[in-house]
Amino acid sequence: MFLAVFSTKGSDEVSPDATLMQQLLRRDVSAFEELYERHSRIVYSLVLRILRQGSTAEEVVQDVFLQLWRNSSRYDTSRPFVPWLLTLARNRALDHLRLKSERQRRREDQTEEFPQIATAAPEYEKALDEGRRAERVRALIGSLPAAQKKAIELAYFEGLSHSEIAAALNEPLGTVKSWIRNGLIRLKEGLQATS
């Protein structure tokens, strides 16, 4: 499903996304449109999963892409683009979620407006194309025990801390920490195993 959205790249070539981001510096609207076509689906899916409401999710996606357009110079073209964009979108959506639920739980808000998020693709990144990697991620996380999977989802999609997750799941804090760490290590090893 994600095959149409993503592209793979060779080790030394400049990624199409990096090229498009460079074109944005020259205010190239068609480059913006192509970036939107390539990535709006995965960004919207992520934001909708976090906010669970279509209209609010679209507001946040609009904000993310406009920031991309207005601050393209902040993107380091040597870094992988999609993880950077997804991190940015997740931060924005969680920001929105925190603001919305402020009356229910006061939370610390540390997210910068347009952060410099240094992300580096590991060696095994190129072992799978994005579509197959997406399937693998779903299978690996899906194979975890239900409570462990829930803990990871609460952290990623709802931005909860270890202690908040422990309280929500009524589990010891140490257990939650191990679940999250081991779950992510299992994901990493599972993706590495395909390389």
């Binding site: 499903m1 689906r41 909708l48 609009q62 603001l99 009356r103 693709a121 997750i165």
Partner: protein, 268 residues
């Protein structure tokens, strides 16, 4: 195990953003001390965490969103700075030296002035952007405050009608709603279990006249099971509604119920 090894174990959770403040401060201090191994591990952990986005069910944004974005971007591109002209080199006759020198001086001044103006414009744009973001934040805070005040009015006004929604499953908590004929409808609950994966709770209005339930707002409880949902403009009038019901639906809500109601409460 060394301090470095212990902190290295926190890197994945730090990238996920799930560390509590004490652990977060420890790892940030360690990173600030210049540990290149942990800095590299963090960059790779961020990549790994970003892969969790693939767990989200695939959804398609509306065409209207693309239209709105392109409209804004085209307008901004049209008003953006013009591309810089390339410098030219050309032979100049000797008798034009004086004129050229004057022209050169003028060009240097113009270039300096242009750069100065560009910097000023860039600064203004940055300030405008910062103000836009601040305004957006304030508007959102105002919206939340208005919503809270609106909710409080609904819960306190004597014209409001209270509706209890007992659960079908006796192990579940009861929900309560308050409906004001002009101000709208509020539903809230405590200790409500989270809906299943990629599911939300959805409110329905059952018309007195019969026919299909009318879809209303979707919502979900927070980690403690608390929620408060408000419908400013219910799809039907209080007097025309027989009951309220709540079902579990796929994320985004449904046009008609796809599961049995978990809570139902008659409107008296």
């Amino acid at each position: 195990m060394s301090n470095h090894d212990q902190l290295r174990e926190l890197i994945e959770a730090y990238a996920l953003g799930s560390l509590d403040s004490t652990d977060r401060a420890l790892i940030e201090a360690h990173l600030a001390s210049g540990c290149s191994e942990c800095a590299k591990a963090l960059e790779e952990a961020r990549w790994l965490v970003s892969q969790l986005a693939h767990l989200a069910p695939t959804a398609e944004p509306s065409d209207m969103l693309k239209g709105r974005l392109l409209q804004t971007v085209r307008a901004e591109a049209a008003g953006g700075p013009a591309p810089q002209q390339e410098a030219r080199g050309a032979a100049i006759p000797w008798w034009l030296w004086a004129g050229v020198a004057a022209l050169l001086l003028f060009s240097v001044y113009s270039a300096w002035n242009e750069q100065h103006l560009r910097n000023a414009v860039a600064n203004l744009q940055q300030q405008a952007e910062a103000q836009r973001i601040e305004r957006q934040k304030l508007e959102e805070q105002l919206r939340v405050a208005k919503l809270q005040a609106h909710e409080a009015m609904i819960w306190m006004d004597p014209k409001s009608v209270k509706i209890m929604l007992p659960p079908k499953d006796p192990k579940m908590p009861q929900l309560e709603a308050m409906w004001h004929p002009e101000l709208g409808l509020c539903v809230r609950g405590w200790k409500v279990p989270s809906p299943g994966d990629n599911r939300v709770l959805q409110l329905w209005l059952i018309p007195k006249a019969g026919g299909k339930p009318m879809p209303s707002v979707t919502f979900w409880p927070d980690a403690s099971g608390t929620f408060s949902a408000m419908v400013e403009n219910p799809p039907d009038a209080l007097s025309a509604t027989q009951a309220l019901a709540v079902t579990e639906e796929p994320i985004g809500g449904s046009p008609q119920p796809t599961s049995t109601p978990m809570w139902v409460g008659g409107v008296s």
